[in-house]
Amino acid sequence: MSILIDKNSRIVVQGITGRSGLFHTQQCRAYGTNIVAGVTPGKGGIHIDGIPVFNTVEEAVRYTKANVAMIFVPPPGAADAILEACDAGLDLAVCITEGIPVRDMVMARAVQQDSKTRLVGPNCPGVITPGQCKLGIMPGYIHKPGKVGVVSRSGTLTYEAVKQLSDIGLGQSTCVGIGGDPIIGMKFIDVLKLFNEDPNTDAVFMIGEIGGGAEEEAAHWIRENMKKPVAAFIAGVTAPQGKRMGHAGAIITGGKGKAEDKIRTLNDCGVTVATSPTRMGDAMQEALGAAGTSPAPTTAKPAAQKKKK
């Protein structure tokens, strides 16, 4: 078991004939992902690497019973691609595209919220259920099947965290990159809810960063509802105020969105917070140990809460 996707998911790739769309389709397929269709308007009828390409998502669904979309459509058409996925009644759309204008996303998000389709992203690495289904641009080899759920606003920092988890023997049930944009589909809490109900997830690792208040909201939800141990890391403890650190969302303005406030709130709500990005795996280990559910081999390492020097 897992959340969002598994080996039975039937994937349609929107924007499959683009350069990165095709490259990542091939990578995902090599991992074992069941990609059943592609969509590129105007190119319906061709096959690319043996995958049938359709003009619309609706057609793709009709002929291949696809139920999940992976979106690589470039920014000007990406919001439309999300709307089309919702209109076709898919269960899930994962939008990898980076750089979608906010105004377009306001509209797309409003429609998507009222549809039956869940949205992950945009501007995210995607979703992976190790050993079953990889939907996105993350490197498959760092993941191991297991029981830790991972949810993150970041891309490559998630890879760092996953590698640390895998290295100490903590495999993952599903890893969800929710994206770094100001407007995204699923938020921390939406993903935490699914992990909370998933019988094969024993614990959750959460990766946040400066800006906004999503981590604080998640912390309060965890205190009230979460039945499983949670560990976290927040990037940007040393980030200066008023400077946008890459992501559109990652900025401390008017004293809001500081890492230290997020860390304090998470700690107060019973989350084990890694004090350094070098000890994310250890923090998860510690949270599992404290909850008495430690299924993992114990490779003794310094406690995550203590400063190195």
């Binding site: 990578q27 980076e98 906010v102 306001v106 490197p139 490559t156 760092e160 960063e209 350094s276 990005p277």
Partner: protein
């Protein structure tokens, strides 16, 4: 993307929002002439990419043209340090001269993106002319907020509720309704992240005027507005940040001596955090993008080395499906081209990582390999002799 106050006001005026009579000047003589036109009594406003100008001496009232000239001479070329600029300040190169207005009341209005609801949000307060964060903290009941439905847009009745809540009545109230509707129209059509009028004033004669305005555009939507790139005042930006922007790299100059190159914003922030933890001081934030390419790595390397504060370079690339040997090749090429002799520590992860490490070791550069994030940070700090 930010623009100056005078540019924001011109755009607002294009949407039918009234602004004071004004002129922009680049020299003290121009300022004096403009002041004469206004009848001598006017406001001199330094144009910089930051707020808090008033308290920093960037806004002055003058009473005759010669005085305007004196004030302008003092302001031009001066580095204004406000609460938003940081200690280095921003140089004044443009001045806005505005007619002095007799103000009866001051308000705050803005439209910005609310992440929680994923919608645009109208914010208004009868406490204008001061910092809105301050008002929000001290007396949150004085702030009126309205989330705008993207399908209906802002409706006149909603704008009227806000105008009434601000205490406006009669003709001015209806003027305010129209102004708010136009503000929303401007926000959408110009792809704004934020449009703010603070203060919005009612003059003693009973007219609404946007006395100060701030506008920032959604970087992702700049491609829809051909005029935007020409509106940027490059003198207000760090030259290295401008170069980085050309290559689609996110670069921010910091105060330390360790140049950093990382792929991905989250990992880049975490890398700065680790360096500090080990006692090092990062010289910059640089995100080469999640899928770092050889060309981008090479350009990023050159930008880092152009900063003379940099005494060592830390590269942290979690390539994933990017090939590490390709990344290594990019680093070697760039370093050789600029004849870099500084100590470099490279931490790489991804496919072909052993080939990548081998290339670096055989390159003849002053380079060490970090086995993981902590090891890399420790090595660079040690090579530089920083830390404890």
């Amino acid at each position: 993307m930010n623009i100056h106050e005078y540019q924001a006001k011109e755009i607002l005026n294009g949407f039918g929002i009234p602004i004071p009579r004004s002129r922009v000047a680049l020299t003290a003589d121009q300022v004096e002439r403009a002041a004469k036109e206004m009848g001598g009594h006017c406001v001199i406003k330094a144009q910089i990419y930051a707020g808090g100008r008033g308290k920093a001496g960037g806004v002055k009232i003058v009473h005759h043209p010669e005085q305007a000239n004196d004030v302008a001479k003092e302001l031009f070329g001066k580095k204004l340090v406000t609460i938003q600029t940081g200690p280095e300040g921003l140089k004044v190169r443009r001045i806005l001269i505005e007619e002095a207005v007799e103000i009866a009341r001051e308000f705050y209005v803005s439209i910005t993106l609310d992440r929680e609801s994923s919608r645009y949000c109208l914010i208004a307060s009868a406490e204008g002319g001061v910092e809105i964060e301050e008002v929000a903290r001290k007396s949150p009941e004085k702030i009126h907020m309205l989330t705008i439905d993207p399908f209906t847009g802002l409706r006149p009745y909603q704008a009227r509720k806000i105008a009434l809540a601000l205490g406006l009545t009669g003709v001015v109230c209806e003027d305010c309704v129209e102004l708010l509707l136009n503000l929303y129209k401007c926000c959408l059509e110009r792809d704004c992240f934020l449009v703010e009028i603070n203060p919005l004033v009612v003059t003693k004669a009973g007219w609404l005027l946007a006395m100060d305005a701030k506008m920032s555009f959604d970087d992702n939507a700049v491609y829809r507005h051909r005029e935007y790139p020409d509106m940027v005042d490059y003198s207000q930006l760090d030259p290295l940040e401008i170069t980085a922007g050309k290559y689609d790299l996110a670069y921010i100059k910091l105060t330390g001596s360790i140049g950093c190159m990382v792929n991905g914003a989250g990992l880049a922030m975490a890398t700065l955090d680790v360096l500090k933890e080990f006692g090092g001081e990062p010289a910059n934030f640089l995100d080469v993008g999640g899928g770092a390419t050889r060309e981008k790595v090479a350009e990023a390397f050159k930008i880092i080395l152009e900063d003379s504060d940099v005494k060592a370079v830390f590269v942290n690339i979690f390539g994933g499906i990017m090939r590490c040997d390709v990344i290594a090749q990019g680093i070697i090429e760039a370093a050789s081209e600029v004849k870099c002799t500084l100590p470099i520590v490279v931490r790489m992860d991804g496919s072909h990582v052993e080939e990548g490490k081998k290339l670096l070791k055989e390159s003849g550069l002053n380079v060490q390999i970090g086995e993981n994030l902590g090891d890399g940070a420790a090595k660079i700090v040690k090579m530089l002799g920083q830390g404890g």
